[in-house]
């Protein structure tokens, strides 16, 4: 039986599944339910500085992009940080940590960009004996207009500065939560590291308009006839988040910096992918909001069974294993070639591979052979692009089969073999390396 426990920057948890700082972690009631359900940790919903409580809209806060059968594929919100008082939150954090000492409890923070403000709140959070703090430099809506959240996260110098303040004013581990609303995620990550952050968490939500209400001619969800951009999350953002995690994991300047992965994690498989890209913990919000806390049962059982099957005894056994295989395009092997292959026994003859290839790609798939509806690959035209396999509705019906060394690529006439990248390719006038 695999051991799912983690030690993330000194923060221990029985499993890597944490709830992200968000509505599900706004108060003790929810967090206790989460811990009872089996979550390994939570990042408490962001606390702000003491003062008049935050005011949220009382119109709709959430929107979603649904599939036809109303599965939530993408989700957005315009909720702000906690709208409960600082004191109540701190008391609850302290009590919950006391009652669940084996779980990770991180407190998310967002205060104005002054050293005094950060110093003041860190002191009070330390008193709760929670395991660490996460600096919310990510929220793209509402708070950013007040100079906080992503307004900080979009300026690497601010990230570095605030991280440094925090590290100098607390003994607790400091995680920096990054916004994806930037051009290159490596810059804020490097800044966090320079500032002394113990880890980065990413991604926060992506600025979004979910859709336009065509009757009211307003962004949706509609608040009294108008709408505002929100923060986008859920399964649809996972590929974007994975790339950002991968970029940080393989950047020489940040390599080894602990990462808590966030973005569209719904299943054990999603979590395993983040861990394979180097994450030491993962954070979930949308899936819990859609399905409830019990999804963690599947995540624990699925990850555990998969690890047993692969022979991984602990999370560290496979953490980061995929990172060395993330390459720049110029490092890919241009001498490698695959051809699509359609399993005629599995083919249900929908014709989607044909029309996709015929209309938009390389005219490499038949629709008729000897007067019969039949879809076969013409290897002399196939560039191995994978489009047919992507659009095929049947699992494993179309596979991309590598040509063996010594075989002739019928499209190019080239004999397969060797390993030339663009850097060595004769067509590259800038080729740096000998072929």
């Amino acid at each position: 039986m695999a051991d799912l426990s983690i030690n993330f920057c000194g923060v221990k948890a029985p499993n890597p599944f944490w709830l992200a700082s968000a509505p599900p972690t706004d108060k003790a009631y929810n967090v206790i339910r989460a811990f009872k359900a089996g979550w390994g940790g939570v990042v408490w919903k962001t606390l702000g500085e003491d003062g008049p409580p935050i005011v949220n809209v009382s119109g709709p806060r959430y929107g979603a992009w649904h599939s036809q059968d109303r599965r939530v594929m993408g989700f957005n919100n315009i909720e702000l940080i906690t709208d409960r008082t600082l004191e109540v939150n701190l008391q609850e954090i302290k009590q919950v940590k006391r009652d669940f000492p084996d779980r990770a409890l991180i407190t998310s923070l967002m205060v104005p960009c002054t050293e005094d403000a950060w110093k003041a709140i860190l002191k009070r959070v330390e008193d709760t004996e929670c395991d660490g703090v996460e600096l919310n430099f990510g929220c793209p809506h509402g708070m950013s207009e007040r100079g906080m959240g992503s307004a900080v996260g979009q300026v690497p110098e601010y990230i570095e500065m605030v991280a440094r303040w925090c590290k100098s004013h607390t003994r607790m581990p400091v995680f920096v939560k990054l916004t994806p609303n930037i051009t290159d995620i490596r810059w804020p990550a490097r800044a966090a590291k320079r500032g002394g952050a113990d880890a980065v968490s990413l991604i926060n939500t992506i600025s979004s308009i979910m859709k336009v209400d065509l009757d009211r001619m307003s962004p949706w969800p509609v608040v009294d006839g108008e709408g505002s951009h929100g923060g986008y999350c859920g399964p649809a953002v996972k590929p974007i988040a994975l790339n950002m995690v991968g970029e940080i994991a393989r950047d020489p300047e940040t390599a080894g910096l602990p990462i808590s992965g966030i973005g569209g994690i719904e299943t054990w498989r999603d979590a395993a992918e983040y861990i394979a890209l180097g994450c030491g913990s993962v954070q979930v919000c949308t899936a819990a909001m859609v399905y409830g806390f019990r999804i963690v049962e599947e995540m624990i059982s699925g990850l555990s069974n998969w690890m047993d099957e692969k022979g991984y005894r602990g999370i560290e056994d496979f953490r980061g294993l995929a990172v060395p295989r993330i390459k720049n395009w110029e490092n890919l092997n241009l001498d490698y070639a695959v051809k699509a292959s359609i399993d005629q026994d599995l083919c249900i003859k929908c014709g989607r591979c044909h029309i996709a290839c015929e209309d938009t790609s390389h005219q490499a798939i038949t629709q008729m052979v000897d007067g019969v509806r039949k879809f076969t690959v013409m290897e002399e035209e196939c560039v191995g692009c994978n489009l047919c396999a992507v659009v095929c509705p049947v699992d494993d019906c179309i596979t991309m089969v590598p040509l063996a060394d010594g075989a002739v690529d019928k499209r190019t006439g080239r004999v397969i073999g060797g390993r030339r990248t663009w850097l060595q390719h004769p067509n590259n006038p800038m080729a740096k390396e000998p072929a």
């Binding site: 599939s67 036809q68 059968d69 109303r70 249900i348 003859k349 929908c350 014709g351 989607r352 044909h354 029309i355 629709q367 509806r373 509705p393 049947v394």
Partner: protein, 451 residues
Amino acid sequence: MSRQPDIAAGRLTGADLDRNFADLAPPLTKLEARVAAERCLYCYGAPCQTACPTSIDIPLFIRQIATGNPLGAARTILDANIFGAMCARVCPTETLCEEACVREAAEGKPVEIGRLQRHATDALMADGRQFYRRGAATGRNVAVVGAGPAGLACAHKLATLGHAVTVLEARAKAGGLNEYGLAAYKATNAIAAREIDYILGVGGICVSTGKALGRDFSLGELRESHDAVFLAIGLGDTNPLGLGDGLSGVIDAVDFIAELRQASDKASLPVGRKVVVIGGGMTAIDIATQVKRLGAEDVTIAYRRTRAEMGASGYEQDVALASGVAIRASLMPKRLVGADGAVVAIELERTRTEAGKLVGTGELETLACDQLFIAIGQSLVTAGLVEAGIRLEKGRVVVDAEGRTSAPGIWAGGDCVLGGKDLTVAAVEDGKQAALSIDRALSGAGAIAAE
């Protein structure tokens, strides 16, 4: 036998009847429709479309439903099949589009094309938007004989092409079998009549009811007064059993179904306690199931060949079985048993096939019955056809690929023609194609008679 026939009206009433004659396949909810639509793979050169006699662009209309454009979907359907609403209800989709669906091949569970088609056409009927209008007048007049699916599909297409159309219908109402045939639970809420209102809404079609060929007019007269004639008279006669049909309680299934479809109160129809239906096609299923649902205690279909050879599809047989009808195969009628002029039983002989020929085994079986419904096929009323120079073969009108008969200027389609498929959807296609052929002929681009 001393049995007294037990025939009574009102065996079931009120809520029981309402339930028994409610929609056989209820409409999809909006969510169900979206989920069902999502299953469509939007095939290229879709097998379902190829399988549809009217070639509806099924992937397109389902995509239109999926994207929240049900009226667009309805337009796609009606452009190919103006009777899309009724066909959605009565087409044997399990042997047409849904059988061909690639999901059927993949999972044994096709996309619910028929129900999706109904979803779209229901949306149109509720909205009432008229997609079609009469084409610019050509000055040509076409007569259509018969206001069933073939006749009205032809009339509609001709009207959109600008020809003035007169439809002559022998019955009191237009609609043909959509109005007078079929099971009532497949055409609830007067959908047949509402669809015809929609079709006639195109304008330029004059329907004259109570006008029977041979009685009120002849083809010769029509031919003189019109530029072309489309014959869509269906099959006006039914085949008799030929076992001394003088007994009371021996009933023509087609007549009874028509009466049931037109009845304002179904409880007024007298049904037997024990009922036997002779036949194996759709009419046999429809009469047996409906009589059972009217309250008959014991309904048995007796068919002379095997279950697999029945004209009714497996799905239709299941509808009858699920309604409590018994289906007895390989039994052929031998003799009616009467008492005081009324049928009380039928004697049947077991059959088997020897060298491709159906033979009796000599084993006899008697089924008691208070009513005996005859549903062994329909035949063409030929009066007035041969005189007009129309060639018949095997009791049907001979037409070429475009629906032209041997008589110049006379086209034919639907159930009355040789090779007819006894399907609403096929009749609609016949009417549509004949209209296109007539239009070509009237504009000088096509021939006016079969070779």
